[in-house]
């Protein structure tokens, strides 16, 4: 089954060229947003592999988005502004990671949630000419707003996250992450540098999410604290990853593709109340596939790059 990844990549590369008739651009648009969701969910998952449930993705997404927008509006070359996204998110996450190092489980989750909410309010309350306040700012598009180009850029951003995830999976880090998740004490006994590893996972994840934030903003043309730092983004990220299957590379990606397709199909078929059915499906999947969607896959071939 090794061909699945490359095959999926080929499909992704071909999306803008698929002769889907009039649907081509629509498919490209939907695919772009799927890529964004998949990238955030996967980046969240990388950090979750150390057993920490972060509710701060919205903060890093927003920081990346604001770093890009504010720099770009001040005349910084767009490419540089874009790179500021992951940089700012990464640096801030390092500070947050150090401070919250000792928190576990729900305590860590709520501390990160609280952090995200505070950052949102700060950006709302900063002077108008700096952040645009609650109204936000218009963001300049990358690549002159060229749709297909932006899709490929999105694919590139997504692939960076995938590569990071695979690199973690196939390095010794994987064992360190897994060991920490199963118990920090044991991990320490096994010789894992717990502090350093947890921080690495946290910063890597945040920087990747910051990069997605910068990209998404160049695609959406705006930053608004209420939306850009919205807690919904964090919840979607973790729901997507769990739905697809946590601690894997394929899971969050699959989760993003299926969830969006599911929503679109339900919307077209049912029109009214389709989100209620969507909720029921989420429940059924987690009840009958406790390992998420990828467990369908792993059931058939246990050796594939699954979880732990």
């Amino acid at each position: 089954m090794r061909w699945v990844g490359p095959a999926a990549l080929c499909v992704a590369l071909l999306v803008p060229l698929v002769p889907a008739g009039g649907y081509q651009q629509y498919v490209v648009q939907v695919a772009t947003f799927v890529l964004i969701n998949a990238a955030v969910a996967l980046a969240w998952d990388i950090q979750a592999r150390t057993g920490q449930l972060s509710l701060a993705p919205a903060a890093f997404f927003g920081l990346g988005a604001y770093a890009y927008t504010m720099a770009a509006l001040r005349g910084v070359p767009l490419a540089v502004a874009f790179l500021l996204g992951p940089l700012v998110a990464g640096v801030v996450s390092l500070g947050l990671g150090i401070v919250t190092l000792r928190l576990q489980g729900l305590y860590f989750a709520i501390a990160t949630l609280a952090f995200a909410e505070v950052v949102k309010v700060i950006f709302k309350e900063l002077p108008l000419d700096l952040t645009g306040g609650a109204v936000g700012l218009t963001a300049p598009p990358l690549l002159g707003g060229h749709q297909t180009g932006l899709y490929y850029l999105g694919l590139g951003v997504f692939l960076v996250v995938v590569v990071a995830s695979l690199a973690v999976r196939h390095s010794r880090l994987h064992y360190a992450f897994t060991a920490i998740r199963q118990g920090e004490l044991t991990a320490r006994v096994l010789g894992v540098r717990v502090v350093r590893t947890k921080l690495l996972a946290f910063v890597l994840s945040a920087a990747l999410i910051g990069m997605v934030g910068a990209y998404a903003t160049s695609r959406l043309f705006f930053v608004i604290p209420e939306d850009t730092f919205g807690i919904g983004l964090s919840v979607t990220a973790l729901a997507t990853a769990i739905f697809g299957g946590v601690y894997t590379t394929a899971g969050p990606v699959l989760g993003a593709v299926i969830l969006r397709s599911l929503e679109e199909v339900l919307r077209l078929v049912l029109r009214e109340g389709y989100l209620a059915v969507y909720g029921v499906i989420l429940m059924l999947v987690i009840l009958y596939l406790p390992g998420g969607l990828v467990s369908l896959w792993n059931r058939r071939s246990r050796d594939v790059a699954g979880g732990d």
Partner: protein, 286 residues
Amino acid sequence: MMDLFLQTLANALIQSGTYALASSGLALAVGVLHIVNFAHGEFLMVGAFVAYWLSVLAGIDPIVSLVPAGAVMFAASGVIYQASIRRVLLAPELNALLLTFGIGITLQNLAVLAFGATPRVVHTAYQLTAVTVGPVSVGVAPLITLVVSVTLLAGMYAVLYRTGVGKSIRAVAQNRTGAHLVGLDVDRIYLLTFGIASALAAIAGSMVLVRIGASPHMGFGFVLKAFAIIVMAGLGNLTGVLWASLVLATAEAFVRTYVPGGGGAAEAVFFLLIFFTLVWRSWRTA
């Protein structure tokens, strides 16, 4: 100056009643079942709608309706527990999170289908009545909320620490396997606890109805703050919920009253306080 100070204190006390009520059920569910119930806010919403329709169709006061609202949610949560929750209790804890997230989305959108997204408000006789003591003026409705929430928390505390059932619940909360070994029916106790927790959410909902109204999307804001409160209190610490609510409501009220621009900043202060408490605690105990 003293007047303002006293009024602010009263405002804080009043608001802490709502916070404590919205959080106590969640504290019970998280403390005993060890699941993160994302649907808690939607359970609150269900309670608000039950009380709303009882008020509109049968003229029953929401204060009275907190009994049927709690009963409805107690029964409904039994079904939800049997059909879904019990099956994820032994799965990785993230599964319960997605499950309850799904339950929440479903309930929310069923409510939108049935009632539309516009909030609905009720009228009660005491809604416009206030009690004035010296310079301090306090609404009767929030006062009732405060009394209800303190009574319920005291009742819960009494049940947990003075009755056999409470002892069983605490035993299960502390050690599921151990409780099972000494012959406790863990599953039944979980069912009961989840039912009480959900009923508490519905009761909070009928109180919120009087203050704000009922709408399909009302739950999320409360559940977000409720999570923060129970975590600040310390998981499984029921009395802690009361003081955490009081501390946070006081901080909010004082920031809103004494800090220029405090209206927007209060939200940040609420979460900042929680953030620093958690972090400080984690480093102190190390």
